[in-house]
Symmetry: none
Subunit: 204 residues, 4 copies
């Protein structure tokens, strides 16, 4: 029962196009994806893309930024969920939940973001966003190190290791249906394993 008597024919075509682009970029790379393929995936004509994005490059950047922002938002929400986090382990659990939620909801987007070949088309604004995730994660690592809960070492490197591990899991699970298709038990075990990657061992 919609109040609006005149619903737009295609609501949010820009979002639809970004989703299509992400799906294809994840599968075949930005460079390997043709505009007609994006149009077909979205069920629109090629020309329509250009009503929303002035060029393929613009579409690529919009998709990248949308994906990155959504990931950051999901993460921020997960981190805030449940009031102030107590221990580093608990905060890590929130990170894990955030990533898991995002990778489940947007597997294409997550895979696309973790491609490393963005140099060819990212504009300065996108580049600025690109590092934000690492900053947030590195901050968590450093606080954990001060609290004695996380092992010593360069925070950036620990982020690289942990994020890489998670990415490895997502890549593996993807062809089989994504993270959602994994038994909950497996996800828990993976979480424990990555925590051990970061965790400072009590003795010694």
């Amino acid at each position: 029962m919609n109040i609006h008597s005149v619903a737009p024919k295609r609501p949010d075509l820009d979002r639809l196009l970004i989703d299509s682009a992400l799906a294809l970029f994840a599968e075949r790379t930005y460079e390997g994806t043709q505009m007609p393929a994006v149009a077909q995936h979205a069920g629109v004509g090629v020309g329509s893309i250009y009503r929303y994005f002035p060029s393929k490059e613009a579409l690529g950047n919009a998709a990248f930024r949308y994906a990155k922002r959504t990931l950051l938002d999901t993460l921020a929400e997960a981190l805030a969920d449940g009031g102030p986090a107590g221990t580093a382990r608990e905060e890590f659990a929130r990170f894990w939940r955030g990533f898991t939620r995002y990778a489940s909801a947007h597997p294409d987007a997550f895979v696309f973001l973790e491609h490393q070949q963005h140099d060819t088309f990212l504009d300065p604004e996108s580049r600025a966003l690109a590092d934000e995730l690492h900053r947030v994660a590195a901050d968590f690592i450093e606080r954990g190190q001060h609290a004695g809960a996380i092992r010593d070492g360069d925070a950036e490197q620990l982020v690289g290791l942990a994020l890489g591990a998670f990415t490895g899991l997502v890549k593996l699970a993807r062809p089989a249906g994504g993270l959602d298709a994994l038994p909950a038990e497996d996800l828990d075990r993976a979480e424990a394993a990555v925590w051990d990657l970061l965790h400072r061992k009590a003795d010694r």
Copy 2:
């Protein structure tokens, strides 16, 4: 009348071309790399590439297979080094040394191999090779689990996590000069962290 009259003017031009291709593929993707760019990087004319490889696709597959085989060889060598491995921890150390050596010697190749977007051009033979590494690693994981040294869980998933972690480190180190530029201490710490990712905790 030159004694060397039959010697090829450019020995191993195929290798040179593969190296150039790997360097560019790692930087800009297979699809984002033009044949003239490969030729220029190798310092030869475009036409010459086609004397060695019948098509771009063939070059891509040759590069992929060369990189994968070299990684497997390096790994096999590292695993065999020092006679039969004793503990799982020691075998892990050999794995680590193998990966480290390879990623140091061929950073481009390693990054290229860890792209996941090979679906567009890999032929069946290359695809068959693609899983070999995971098989070798999963075998190690399974033996370690039987010996009680490695945590429970799907071996494939543990491989994904550990290999992903290592890849995350390489990606991070790459712009700054690669793994070689990292302090030895950092590498050791990373090794310990990834081992803890796999290691079964003694108590509890």
Copy 3:
């Protein structure tokens, strides 16, 4: 309940569209002018153009014919003004006044008509109109030659020269505000000059 309920909201929208088309065609060529640009210039939606003209080509032909007919009408009026012309010089003055009036009132249209690149879109009916002006002018030349007032030579060529000269003046004056912006004195001098182009010199 409006008395004018049956009156068209926009009277003469076809004329408005033709004027817009002429303005843009003069500036950027028929081929270089996009339908949306015509719509915007006329302050209507693109779709509305197609209510009045079935295609761009039809609009182009309508604009051409309208401009040409208006020029011929203006000329006919100027030639008839003041009763039967006496001398060739006087008839020439009427021609001059006709052209001047038209080029002042419709500078875009005049410039458009004097483009020579109409071959791509003019239909047969338009083509037939195209030569009318030259016919009228050539007739005047021939009568003048019989009367001994205009120099010998091919009448068509003399028309080409005289009309070309006038066009050269309009093109020059156009960026500076058109013929209207020219001092009256300059226009008179130009008229005298073009007359001398046609005039048979008294002696010899």
Copy 4:
């Protein structure tokens, strides 16, 4: 008997392309000419154009500049021919010869140059060249006025009238085979007519 044993397969392809472009631009406008048409006219593949010119716009500017420079050169040569010019009438004859020679040799180029719709694609360098011809001609007019041989009035306007007249003649002659197809007598008469357009009448 060519000294060079290895003649280039296609000498001066850039010139050939410019000539083709000029022929088509003259016929159908810059905007109305497609790159494949230029390629076909030149007897080469479309891709080859882009080896010589980075874009259609670049080709358009190159063609414009080439045509304009050649016209200016032809004119300069004609003006210098026969030592210092004596009277204004003689100098005018040289101008006439220069224009005539050029329009005969390059009718397409001349027509293209006299289109007025270059605003859409000319770059600043081309624009600078565009006025050169008028400068040279206006200088001649002013000197002639000082010498009492050319009628009073704005020099620019007189140039516009005279050049326009010549252009009118070329346009007329073009479909019938160009200036060359005109009887010499007609050309002489036209020259006399245009001179009378400029000439100051001796008595009043």
